[in-house]
């Protein structure tokens, strides 16, 4: 019984929610995804990182939303009726991810997953967020590391700056 359970878990781990941003397809492990909701009114928060678009009210729970395009450093595109919010739960932190278009839920077996190719050490644009690459037939999905997506050094740096600032103002 333990075996099948483990197998089931493994299968679950191989499932990815994929979405389209620009011309590329990205995937997030399904275990991180709480739900997918249609785009809704966002309340802006002043003075925070530009990719944090603001707050939404998810059935009484207030969660921040991040525009994935802005997070990747691309230019903003206007939201339309295909725009969706993927509600992620990463280590208890619930954050919405605004994506242009939801694609599908796919299963990518481990053997079809490869580390993302790099050009030297300086190539860090996607690399920070993309953990690996999944292959389905001929198409390629960039598999994201949700933890880094929300919490990378970038954020840590901002945080540090903030605490320093508050320490200074506190004195």
């Amino acid at each position: 019984m333990g075996n099948t359970e483990e197998e089931g878990k493994e299968k679950e781990q191989q499932k990815y929610v994929t979405f389209q941003s620009g011309n590329e397809f990205f995937g997030i492990q399904i275990q991180y995804v709480n739900e997918i909701i249609v785009f809704q009114q966002i309340t802006e928060i002043p003075e925070c990182a530009s990719y944090i678009k603001g707050l939404i009210n998810l059935r009484g729970k207030i969660i921040p939303v991040v525009d994935v395009r802005l997070r990747f450093g691309k230019e903003e595109v206007p939201y339309n009726d295909r725009t969706c919010i993927i509600v992620l739960n990463v280590n208890g932190m619930v954050v919405g991810l605004i994506v242009e278009k939801i694609a599908e839920v796919v299963e990518i077996p481990d053997e079809n997953i490869f580390p993302s190719p790099t050009i030297g050490k300086g190539d860090a644009s996607h690399h920070v967020f993309v953990k690996s690459i999944g292959k389905i037939g001929n198409s390629v999905k960039l598999l994201l590391d949700p933890e880094r997506l929300l919490n990378d050094e970038d954020v840590a740096a901002i945080e540090q700056m903030d605490t320093q600032k508050s320490a200074e103002t506190g004195e």
Partner: protein, 711 residues
């Protein structure tokens, strides 16, 4: 399986109830720690508490706790019954607190799934010694012993009563004349008369004052009294005379052992004495015998003590119990769930009520609107109730600090008084969980560092006792919890010296340019302690930094004020997450903001010519001849679509910390009770915002923290 579950439930209940009892116990003890002794009521209360704990621990088979509780119960039994003089009160207080600590520790073990294996022998020995010492005292003064309220004590059944060699024991049997009304009142008169000379009086039926039916029982079965007194039979007869209402008084002396057995010795004895007397009485006697035995069955005493045994106290006891029963403990998760659901309900309500389908021209909606208003009212009430459910007064937390002050001050040999102000301030439950540790540190620090030694105080000419004041209030959306002492205050010079030694000072800055606030802030740094000696309580330099980091974790801060020689105040400023505040909703651009109603002084629409701009861009507005600084919220936060034109906007004049500022917003929406929710952690702290809230239509408004805005 089912049985297992059952015992678990019992353990939970046991822990919960006893936890409450212990809290009450500490409260009582600390309330009277400065008195010369416990008053009657608290003694009864402590006795009862120990008795209950003993009983329930016995049932759960926690022998250590049972034995210890029993011993303390013995001590209080003696105190209560014999009223010894010269009881070393402090020693007694310590004993009681030690016992409470032991039991608390054991209960914690149980809670963590360990077994209650603590050894109470040492404490029991201590109590034995204490009991022996006060008994020794009283033997000499036994002449003075007058017993009061003895009739309230049914628990004597299983405890050997205290007696001295001069004591005699009597069994008294009263038969009342037929046709007498209110035999119970007559019986009480007799008891009352006997109490004057008695050391101990027990009687049956016990509930003569509270139970009118006892009159019938007395008429039927007679009235039985067990008396312990230093008097002769003649003395008793002098007090209780046979008269027109009292048909017969029978008195016979018995041994202490018989006395200890209670009323079951009655049956046999009386039977013998009555053999020659009235046979019908004997027959009647048979019946109560079986009834009487019941309360004395071993193990039954727990229930019995709460039973009809305590006439006067009974009413009070019952009220207390009811009060307790009206509280239940609920899983916080369930409450959170309920709250979320209610939030959803409110949103779906507005979706229904403002449904576009209803906007059909010519549609009559009178009845619908009536029903809708009713529904809106109910959902608002519902929201308010769930909010208030999470709010807990700080009283308990403060009460615990009382204990810490007491312990610490005794350890350090300082006289410290404890005072609470505003302890009924309500705070969200999860906030309370976070502040008790920091608060404890602060209180300990104040006793240890703040308050001077007794001699030093005397030298300084400080006449009043050392005093720690805990205060709480809500202001501008935050809870302020202050720990104030009237001690020496912080030593600026010493702190600066130390800071210099540790290289904390900016070498380019003159020492004197540091403000007091800045200097005091040094003591919150890790490893910083001005106490030269490391004591058990503090001085290791951990503490203040822990306090600060704990507070920061919940978005709070610590402010230190101090006046040398007068004392210092540590103010914890804690956000009121989840609290409801009365707020003014306003709009700037596409966003809504909320501000606490309390700080808003007025709203003014102004003309451009009232605004004066300084060359550096700072603006102020002249209102009634006074100039106030103006803050354009839209511009300040770099928002889009806000009204740049002053005359389109509305000026909100607020006052924080006696500072007046005007905020320019686009539009006022209205006044509303709002629920403060924290801004998700993911979004880093934004200056001037203390939280967010959900408005009635489901949209989100940001809460402006005026004090933060001004920083």
């Amino acid at each position: 399986m089912a049985e297992e579950f059952n015992t678990e439930g019992m353990l939970d209940m046991y822990l919960f109830e006893n936890g409450q009892l212990l809290e009450q116990l500490q409260e009582i003890v600390l309330e009277q720690k400065d008195a010369d002794g416990f008053d009657e009521e608290s003694m009864n209360e402590i006795f009862r508490t120990m008795h209950t704990i003993k009983g329930s621990s016995g049932v759960m088979m926690f022998e250590g706790i049972t034995a210890l509780a029993h011993k303390l119960e013995d001590v209080f039994y003696y105190l209560r019954e014999s009223h010894p003089e010269h009881v070393p009160h402090m020693e007694l207080v310590t004993h009681v607190l030690d016992v409470a600590d032991f039991i608390s520790a054991e209960m914690e073990k149980l809670q963590n799934g360990e077994s209650a294996d603590g050894d109470p022998k040492k404490l029991i020995a201590g109590l034995d010694k204490f009991l022996a010492s006060i008994k020794g005292e009283t033997k000499k003064e036994k002449e003075n012993i007058i017993k009061k309220n003895v009739h309230e004590e049914p628990t004597q059944f299983y405890l050997a009563p205290m007696y001295t060699e001069a004591s005699h024991f009597y069994k008294i049997y009263l038969t009342y004349s037929e046709g007498i009304e209110l035999a119970n009142v007559h019986a009480y008169k007799a008891v009352y008369a006997l109490k004057e000379m008695a050391e101990d009086v027990l009687y049956l039926p016990e509930d003569i004052l509270t139970n009118e039916k006892s009159a019938d029982e007395i008429m039927e079965n007679g009235f039985k009294i067990l008396l312990q007194a230093q008097c002769t039979e003649a003395d008793i007869r002098a007090v209780i005379r046979e008269g027109y209402e009292l048909e017969k008084v029978e008195i016979c002396e018995c041994t202490p052992a018989e006395f200890g057995r209670g009323f079951d010795c009655f049956g046999s004895e009386i039977q013998i004495t009555l053999d020659s007397a009235e046979k019908d009485v004997k027959e009647k006697e048979e019946k109560p015998k079986t009834r009487v035995e019941k309360p004395m069955a071993p193990g039954d005493f727990v229930i019995e003590s709460k039973g009809p045994g305590k006439q006067k106290k009974l009413a009070k006891d019952k009220a207390r119990k009811q009060e307790k029963a009206s509280f239940i403990s609920v899983d916080v998760n369930k409450m959170d769930m309920l709250m979320d659901l209610i939030g959803e309900l409110v949103i779906s309500e507005s979706v229904v009520l403002q449904n576009p389908d209803l906007r059909v021209p010519g549609l009559k909606l009178d009845n619908f609107n009536k029903a809708a208003a009713q529904m809106a009212k109910i959902s608002t009430d519902l929201q308010n109730v769930i909010m208030s459910m999470r709010m807990v007064p700080l009283t308990n937390t403060f009460q615990k600090m009382n204990r810490i002050v007491f312990d610490a001050s005794r350890k350090l040999g300082k006289d410290v008084e404890f005072q609470m102000v505003g302890d009924t301030t309500e705070v969200d439950k999860n906030i309370i969980e976070h502040i008790s540790d920091p608060l404890m540190h602060l209180v300990r620090n104040s006793v240890d560092h703040g308050i001077e030694e007794n001699e030093e105080r005397a030298k300084k000419g400080k006449k009043d006792k050392g005093k720690i004041t805990l205060s709480a209030k809500t202001e501008s959306g935050k809870v302020w919890i202050g720990v104030t002492d009237n001690g020496a205050g912080l030593d600026r010079k010493k702190i600066l010296e130390k800071a210099k030694k540790q290289g904390l000072l900016d070498p380019t800055r003159d020492e004197n340019t540091y403000s007091d606030k800045e200097v005091y802030q040094f003591i919150t740094l890790p490893g910083f302690s001005t106490n030269d000696k490391v004591t058990e309580l503090s001085g290791r330099g951990v503490g203040m930094d822990v306090v600060v980091s704990n507070l920061q974790a919940i978005g709070g801060s610590l402010e230190i004020e101090s006046i040398p020689g007068v004392g210092s105040t540590m103010n914890m400023k804690i956000p009121l997450t989840l609290a409801i505040i009365d707020g003014i909703v306003m709009e700037v651009g596409d966003s809504s903001f909320v501000m606490e109603t309390g700080i808003v002084k007025e709203f003014v629409g102004i003309r451009d010519n009232q605004i004066v701009q300084e060359p550096d861009g700072k603006e102020f507005v002249m209102i009634r001849g006074e100039g106030y600084p103006v803050l354009r919220v839209g511009e300040w936060y770099g928002m889009k679509n806000y009204h740049a034109d002053t005359e389109d906007g509305m000026l909100v004049i607020i006052e924080v910390d006696k500072q007046i500022v005007c905020l320019l917003v686009d539009r006022l929406v209205g006044k509303q009770e709002i629920v403060v929710k924290p801004i998700p952690e993911y979004v880093k702290k934004v200056k001037g915002l203390s939280g967010c809230t959900q408005l009635g239509d489901g949209s989100i408004a940001l809460i402006i923290d005026a004090a933060g805005l001004l920083e």
